[in-house]
Symmetry: C2
């Protein structure tokens, strides 16, 4: 499915569920509420299991945070048939955690195509961290540790670029491991799609071919073979959706 | 091949090629020289390509650094038959860079089994960063970005544990992404083997069933379901090689 099949897409892609130690989704509450306005119940997919949380415990935590925003949540683990749950969902939220565990479980449950279909139909999709990686073309710009081997790195492809969440505000210069920018340059030796690096207060709202950055910090955009550019909220980002 | 087949192994596993911005291998020069004493030429495997360096350019840089230590180097890219090069090597060094590119190219060139065989025979093997990850059971404790999809995460398995290189001296507490310790805890939700986290001046010298830590900073050892422990150079680490 080409990403141009997604002219009805309605995506909210959040870098991090927390910012500067604040309340969960406190930095993006208004955007989350607007995104799911009119949705009676959001289907939550807890497969990324941060800190190895059980699906039930992860869903319970998200439900508490969403209920405080006036949004009802049901976890996909409560359905005997997860494909049917996706097919019937009014809105889907995929939470953060480990991207490799997440994508493995999405493939093993046969959910990649069903979620693509629902996004193409215009169902509101929200991702946070690993869930935002999943909206991109591949998980190859994840920051996570590859703790399980998934059947593919190919993600939902609802946008013609990759996300890099938790983009740092500064680098520890004593550290001799690769910097984030170096990692993304290395990505571009093997992959052509742009990478949108979201700092931790950042989120993208994408409706069809319009795209808006929310937050106070710039987004860093990496194009293959070019110097990365920082763009502030309010800048025209529509070029990212051209194919 | 069980790791107990490696009773003749002779490994030097370095966390980082540089420490605190010093000369390449300056912090471990004596250990490298002792490791390759009597080896007329070390076979260098440049597949990890840091910053996308060509094989030739990467080998040239390593050859310069090794020549200053009195060690001759030849790059595997100069051989028409890389398997034959491994079979004939007196010593092998796998350098750092991107672990996913490295393991993909090792599998694509059919080199996993030949290198295992040579290590089992007692040929000196050195790894730095990604090359140290390769000596472990899997690359699932790599810090690298998954920029290409390899056919497997299963590594050489010359030791019954995993390596985590570039283990940080401190964490940026404002950062809401996963900490290194959290990532390794998540690894242990899905994998049983211990993880040895090497700070940047650290290296392990492993001969048969003896193991020594060099450097000035402690190594952090993570066991599944237990609190991690910091051990200083000189501590008894032989328990890591028991199976």
């Amino acid at each position: 499915m080409s990403t141009s099949s997604f002219s009805a897409r309605n995506l909210l892609l959040v870098s991090s569920s927390r910012f500067d130690g604040g309340e969960m989704f406190g930095h993006c509450q208004a955007a989350v509420q607007a995104h799911f306005a009119g949705v009676s119940k959001v289907l939550f997919i807890p497969y990324a299991r941060p800190d190895g949380l059980s699906h039930e415990a992860y869903t319970a935590g998200i439900a508490t945070a969403f209920n405080q925003m006036g949004i009802e949540v049901v976890g996909i683990e409560t359905y005997a048939d997860p494909k049917a749950a996706v097919a019937a969902a009014e809105g889907i939220f995929i939470g953060g955690g480990n991207t490799f565990v997440l994508i493995r479980d999405l493939y093993e449950n046969g959910l990649i195509k069903p979620i693509r279909t629902r996004i193409a139909e215009g169902m509101p999709y929200m991702g946070s961290s690993a869930g935002s990686n999943m909206a991109g073309m591949s998980i190859s710009t994840s920051n996570d540790m590859p703790i399980v081997y998934p059947p593919s790195f190919e993600a939902l492809g609802a946008i013609p670029f990759n996300i890099n969440p938790h983009y740092p505000r500064s680098e520890d210069n004593r550290h001799m491991g690769e910097s984030r920018d170096q990692r993304i340059r290395e990505f571009h030796h093997f992959n052509a799609q742009p990478v949108v690096a979201l700092r931790e207060d950042g989120l993208l709202k994408i409706q069809g071919n319009s795209i808006a950055l929310h937050g106070n910090l710039p987004v860093r955009i990496f194009h293959q073979g070019k110097t990365p550019e920082d763009l502030m909220p309010g800048a025209d980002l529509a070029f990212l959706l051209e194919e």
